[in-house]
């Protein structure tokens, strides 16, 4: 047990920190939405990250990755958050689609897709959730029919980040309507420029659109875009989702670290003597340390066994609730001015964060589903459904 960076990690961290200080464009900090001029900035930033070797840190070298252990990805996420730098626009390609293709793809698929993910030339999105299938993913209804040498896709996906700028989509749909519902699923790579694909931004309670709906109308997808087998989509999708959780906790703790620092500054400035505020600030600081060190324990487990433990669910569950409490506390400190969206930077910042935080317990696995997962898979309790 040693909670300090080893010499190689320390060197990697120092280099990265220096690089970030020199390379994060000021106009990128806090950018959201990736439309208009922000998109060009975001693309350039992603390419710069890729060029400096910070994309695919844990991907095997044979596929163009850096072949580093997970701890490098952890350090990368910590430092990126600390610098308040935006994510690489290709997170879905790097973290989900790429590892899924590495695990289930044919050699020609690997050759075709992986390099463009790494170079940030191709942005990917995910087409899993549907209006009728949120928590219950196995119930997706988007139809996939094999017609001659191509699939025809019809249906609607929802909650898809990056879809409005994506080049490709990993899509889970239904190729058989009879039999066990998990067994009728098929997993495709869809070119987002195909005729019949329509993306509509989904405006959320903050007033901004960060997610999208994707409508598929008679979209033709070449047969070679099949990942895994027809009817074998569930297993491929599980690979995608398990990769979502690998070092996800580090990104969350990194974001929370920034939020806690801003909260402390706000409290110091506007409510330094308020014992109730202090108590709640200390709670969130403790929660942050608890998540941080739980991540380190998870990382040790991941590096030893190669498989992510249940800590990913733990981190997501607690981060979402902490972020909701923390942003609520911040608007309480701000007072009635928190109702003014065009007020000074502080009020508007926290107002946005607070409204946005309500999605945290819903997106990427609702808190209810995460508690089910913990109860059933970790504690071995009988299924509640």
């Amino acid at each position: 047990m040693d909670l300090r960076d080893g010499p190689e990690e320390a060197a990697f961290r120092a280099t990265l920190r220096t690089w970030l200080a020199a390379n994060v464009p000021a106009e990128l900090r806090g950018l959201r939405g990736w439309t208009g001029p922000a998109l060009a900035l975001g693309r350039a930033w992603s390419k710069r990250l890729a060029g400096a070797g910070y994309a695919g840190l844990t991907w095997p070298k044979e596929y163009g990755g850096a072949g580093q252990p997970w701890r490098y990805q952890a350090v990368y996420l910590e430092e990126l958050a600390k610098a308040e730098a935006p994510q690489h626009l290709g997170v879905i390609g790097l973290g989900m689609a790429g590892p899924t293709i590495i695990a289930h793809g044919r050699p020609d698929q690997k050759a075709r897709y992986l390099a463009e993910i790494l170079s940030a030339d191709d942005i990917w999105c995910q087409g899993f959730s549907e209006p009728g299938s949120g928590s219950d993913l196995a119930s997706v209804r988007t139809r996939i029919e094999l017609v001659g040498d191509h699939f025809v896709v019809n249906g609607q996906k929802v909650w898809s980040s990056y879809a409005h700028i994506a080049d490709r989509c990993i899509l889970l749909g239904r190729s058989a309507v009879t039999g066990e519902k998990h067994e009728g699923l098929t997993y495709l790579v869809v070119d987002m420029k195909s005729p019949g694909v329509e993306v509509r931004p989904l405006r959320q309670i903050t007033g901004e659109a960060e997610f999208n709906e994707i409508f598929f109308t008679d979209v033709a997808v070449p047969k070679e875009n099949l990942l895994g087998e027809i009817g074998g989509g569930w297993r491929v999708a599980m690979t995608t989702l398990s990769h979502e959780r690998g070092t996800f906790g580090f990104a969350l703790a990194g974001a929370l670290d920034v939020a806690v620092r801003k909260l402390v500054a706000l409290a110091r400035e506007r409510a330094g003597a308020d014992a109730l505020v202090r108590d709640r600030v200390a709670r969130e600081w403790i929660e942050l340390q608890a998540l941080r060190y739980t991540n380190y324990r998870a990382l040790a487990h991941l590096e030893r066994t190669g498989a992510p433990g249940p800590e990913g669910s733990v981190a997501k569950l607690r981060w979402s609730e902490a972020n909701q409490r923390l942003t609520k506390l911040a608007i309480e400190i701000v007072g009635q001015e928190s109702q003014v969206a065009d007020g000074d930077g502080t009020a508007a910042y926290w107002r946005y964060q607070q409204l946005r935080s309500r999605g945290n317990t819903i997106e990427a696995g609702t808190s209810e589903i995460l508690r089910n997962i913990i109860a059933e898979r970790v504690l071995g309790l009988p299924r509640s459904r």
């Binding site: 009728g132 608007i331 009635q336 001015e337 109702q339 997106e363 459904r385």
Partner: protein, 368 residues
């Protein structure tokens, strides 16, 4: 000991609910909320004709001669319908001061005057205004007064015909009426999160005003206004919470996941049960506060503070749970829930935080 409404009061509620449901269905209030003005001005004379603007105004002045309990029923129903318009400003915030002048009461009852309160309370100003030490000063000019200064975060500032201004004169804080048609203060309406109740900044530059209450009398009116306002918001919050609960229950009954309505899962149903319980407790506190305000009971201050603190938090929690029960859909702009949530947050932020209100109560308990 009879904690029930009279048949007439029950009828007032039933009538209010059906009027508001027809007049402002969910599609309509989203339109209103997103409109430039944020208000359906044509609705005000209708409210006046229903007797709501003059509920507690004496019949001699054209009112209904009822009391705060009747107004409380209207506040709850307006909250439930998320009514956009200066009813809270006029009836809760301005009316106690306007009562100093019978001519004004008659105008309120008839729907001819809307008003709001520009408070002299540093807690209720923005950080920017606080830094500037903003306040309004009153200076005598013949039988009128001139107001000068700035006040911030004034509810419905962009809509109302008149401002009741807490301004500092030579003898302390008095209450003045600045009518828009002759005072013409500078008004900046902020882009408020709850677009149906926008806040604004009001700047007076030697604008002409009429005195409503001079310093010693004004203090009691300001205190009673605060009690009315807190009780009214508690009732609005109960209306908001009830509607959010109803939306959540409906969704839990109809939405299917894993082959069953999601309301069969205790993670959903118990959350809604907690919302029901908190809404009922908030309702009890709000009705208690309403009765105390109506009767000018000795407990009115504590009751109003307690009810507002509790009901606001209950309404916020009710909306948050309803959003969670709705899943992603509850997080979208097109669903009505976020508008209720933003109203609940507005109510919560008004006057002081729940923690500050509880500190007031604790002071009375522990020191008393």
């Amino acid at each position: 000991m009879d904690f029930s409404f009279s048949p007439e009061q029950d009828q007032l509620r039933a009538h209010a609910r059906s009027f508001l449901e027809k007049r402002f269905p969910a599609t309509r209030f989203a339109e209103i909320a997103m409109s430039e003005d944020g208000w359906d001005r044509a609705s005000w004379p209708e409210l006046a004709r229903l007797g709501w603007t003059g509920a507690s105004i004496a019949e001699a002045q054209g009112g209904a001669g009822q009391g705060f309990v009747e107004e409380a029923i209207v506040f709850e129903e307006l909250g439930r319908a998320l009514y956009a318009g200066p009813y809270f400003s006029t009836v809760a915030l301005a009316l106690p001061a306007l009562a100093c002048a019978p001519d004004l009461l008659a105008k309120v009852a008839s729907g001819g005057l809307t008003a709001t309160l520009a408070p002299d309370d540093p807690v209720r100003q923005s950080a920017g205004a606080k830094a500037k030490g903003a306040a309004v000063e009153a200076r005598r000019a013949g039988d009128r007064w001139l107001l000068r200064g700035e006040t911030d975060l004034v509810p419905d500032a962009g809509w109302v015909d008149a401002f009741v201004v807490e301004a500092r004169g030579p003898d302390g804080i008095g209450l003045y009426l600045a009518e828009r048609h002759d005072a013409r203060p500078l008004i900046r309406v902020f882009d408020t999160v709850d677009t149906t109740r926008r806040l604004g900044r009001v700047t007076f530059d030697d604008d002409s005003a009429r005195i409503l209450a001079a310093p010693p009398a004004a203090t009691a009116i300001i205190a009673s206004t605060r009690r009315r306002a807190l009780a009214a918001l508690a009732l609005e919050a109960v209306g908001v919470a009830s509607f959010a609960l109803a939306l959540g229950v409906e969704h839990a009954k109809s939405r299917q996941q894993f082959g069953r309505p999601i309301g069969t899962y205790q993670a959903v149903s118990h959350k809604l049960a907690d919302t029901y319980v908190e809404t009922e407790l908030a309702r009890s506190l709000a009705y208690w506060a309403a009765w105390c305000v109506a009767e000018d009971d000795a407990q009115a201050e504590l009751a109003a503070v307690a009810a507002k603190a509790y009901a606001a938090e209950a309404a916020v929690a009710a909306c948050e749970r309803a959003i969670q029960v709705h899943g992603g859909m509850g997080f979208t702009w097109d669903h009505p829930l976020h508008r209720y949530y933003k109203r609940a947050l507005w109510i919560e932020s008004f006057d002081r935080s729940g923690a500050a209100h509880r500190a007031e109560i604790a002071q009375a308990l522990v020191a008393g």
